[in-house]
């Protein structure tokens, strides 16, 4: 009996378990998933919590329910991997041997990396929405906030879901309009990037949309520290920006267990082969989802496209066949733009987001890089697709490799 061990039962780990359980003979393979908690959080839903659109109950479900019945779930913290002896150690002292290992431990925010952030004012005047507790605390804050200067601040790239800060601003603009205090709120994006987004075309169009909504941008700001008493953020080149309310995306890093295993880069992401998703230095270890060091976006949709090509490659690996370059960096994100509208962007390692229409059979077409109501519904529908199709490894009506159909070049 061989053992496949999957570390992390989030978006990618759950998808891959559901897909592989169908491919591998249950007499030959035992599939084990390890995760530290039994609560699966639908992270894209966290964006909507500060504005009261979703509540806690709308974004959490028991992890076990989404894993295949023929797989084993161990609820425990992972301490480290010992790749040379094909073994994983848990915090409680147990160890698990494996034949193949899939790392899907994701990424997390680390506010402690920035001086002044996670101190007395954390979750009072300094907030995040990348965690459930953070999103709930920010909701309570916004309920009785009377206005002032709100900074949406990005500490350092890469972050998971790089469009989420823009969406937060668009939704905040709408929210404060509805609350009748938009004229008393200054909204500013503070980013280490040269503009609103990483890719030039999308950056230009999203930049124009920000301007239209009277949202300011402070580009190329690399924060050194926060002064929580004077309510200022200070950059390495000594620029300062005042705020009344700081909403920040702290530094994103991989799991500490990666560092303890000596397998990570400086952000605790695992060096991974770009097109095959094999760990760079190990032939029986694969890395999927946010845990990789790849230059693709850290997003659930990306994890989905990765899994599509990965299944075939995993089967090739266990038959000792050469791996195929199946992953092209494909990403696809709905962007909420407020007032019931949204945009859709679609790109990969080589093709930047282009204007056009996205041909989604049966649902679309959704407008790429243009606001439309259908895109907003696409985003809300995504929650249903996430629980019912995506995690369960069912076909999504989207092809894995980026299609140029529908793009205006």
């Amino acid at each position: 009996m061989k053992r496949l061990l999957i570390l992390g039962g989030g978006t990618a780990g759950t998808m891959v378990a559901n897909r592989l359980v169908k491919e591998l003979e249950s007499d030959d393979w035992k599939i084990t998933v390890v995760d530290e908690s039994d609560t699966h959080i639908y992270q894209p839903g966290l964006l909507f919590i500060p504005f009261g659109t979703y509540d806690k109950k709308d974004v959490i479900k028991p992890r076990r329910r989404f894993l295949p019945t023929d797989s084993e779930l161990i609820l425990a913290q992972i301490d480290h991997i010992e790749p040379d002896s094909n073994r994983v150690w848990l915090k409680d002292g147990r160890s698990l041997a494996y034949d193949y290992l899939i790392i899907t431990t994701g990424s997390r925010i680390v506010p402690e990396e920035t001086p002044g952030l996670a101190e007395d004012e954390w979750r009072r005047s300094i907030h995040d929405f990348y965690t459930l507790e953070g999103a709930l605390a920010l909701r309570d804050k916004l309920r009785d906030w009377e206005g002032g200067r709100l900074l949406m601040h990005v500490t350092e790239m890469p972050i998971k879901c790089p469009v989420a800060p823009l969406e937060f601003l668009f939704l905040a603009d709408w929210y404060f309009h509805e609350a009748g205090i938009r004229d008393r709120v200054d909204l500013t994006l503070v980013t280490p990037l040269p503009g609103a987004f990483t890719k030039p075309k999308a950056s230009e169009m999203l930049g124009a949309l920000l301007e239209e909504k009277d949202i300011h941008v402070e580009p190329e700001f690399n924060v050194e520290r926060v002064d929580p008493d004077d309510k200022q953020i200070i950059s390495y080149d000594e620029r300062t920006i005042d705020y009344d309310l700081l909403v920040t995306v702290p530094v994103n890093m991989g799991s500490e267990m990666i560092e303890r295993s000596g397998m990570g880069d400086e952000l605790m992401f695992v060096p991974t082969e770009k097109h095959t998703l094999k760990a760079q230095h190990h032939d029986n270890i694969f890395v999927l989802g946010d845990a990789t060091n790849l230059p693709s976006s850290k997003a659930g949709s990306v994890a989905h496209f990765q899994v599509d090509g990965f299944i075939e490659n995993f089967l090739r690996a266990i038959r000792q066949q050469a791996l195929l370059p199946s992953f092209d960096g494909h990403a696809n994100c709905y962007i909420e733009s407020g007032f019931g509208k949204g945009l859709l962007i679609d790109f990969n390692y080589d093709v930047e987001p282009l204007p056009g229409r996205f041909p989604l059979p049966g649902f679309g077409p959704f407008a790429l890089l243009q606001e439309s109501r259908a895109n907003h519904w696409g985003k809300l529908m995504f929650r249903w697709m996430y629980w019912h199709l995506l995690l369960r490894g069912k076909e999504l009506p989207i092809p894995a490799e980026l299609s140029m159909a529908g793009k205006w070049n």
Binding site: E156, M157, P158, P162, L193, P194, T198, K199, E220, N222, E224, Y236, D237, D265, E266, L267, P295, S296, S297, G329, A331, F347
Partner: protein
């Protein structure tokens, strides 16, 4: 004294062929960036970046530079003011750093 006349640069001034780089070119590029003369600390950064590029094929991120070259972020900004990521890559003869997506 080397001039940049024989060095091919892209539209943004980054070297087209990182293998054609040498320390004199670095001095000439540093001159254009207003950083000349390069001191020992500049070179600690440039040497690290060249070595890392040779091993990984990518220009390292600022975080990687500060973790491994012995020059911290504050000093890096003092050595290569306003946008060290671009300046370091340019002087070291590498392409424009790719932002993540």
């Amino acid at each position: 004294m080397t001039t940049l006349q024989d060095v091919s640069l892209d539209t943004e001034g980054f070297m087209v062929d990182p293998n054609a780089w040498n320390p004199e070119i670095a001095e000439a590029l540093a001159e254009e960036e207003g950083l000349a003369p390069l001191n020992e600390r500049h070179w600690a950064v440039i040497d690290f970046v060249r070595k890392d590029w040779g091993e990984t094929g990518e220009s390292p991120t600022l975080r990687r530079i500060t973790k491994q070259s012995g020059v911290n972020t504050k000093e890096l900004y003092a050595l290569f003011p306003k946008g060290p990521a671009k300046k370091v890559a340019r002087v070291a003869g590498l392409g424009k750093p790719k932002g993540c997506i």
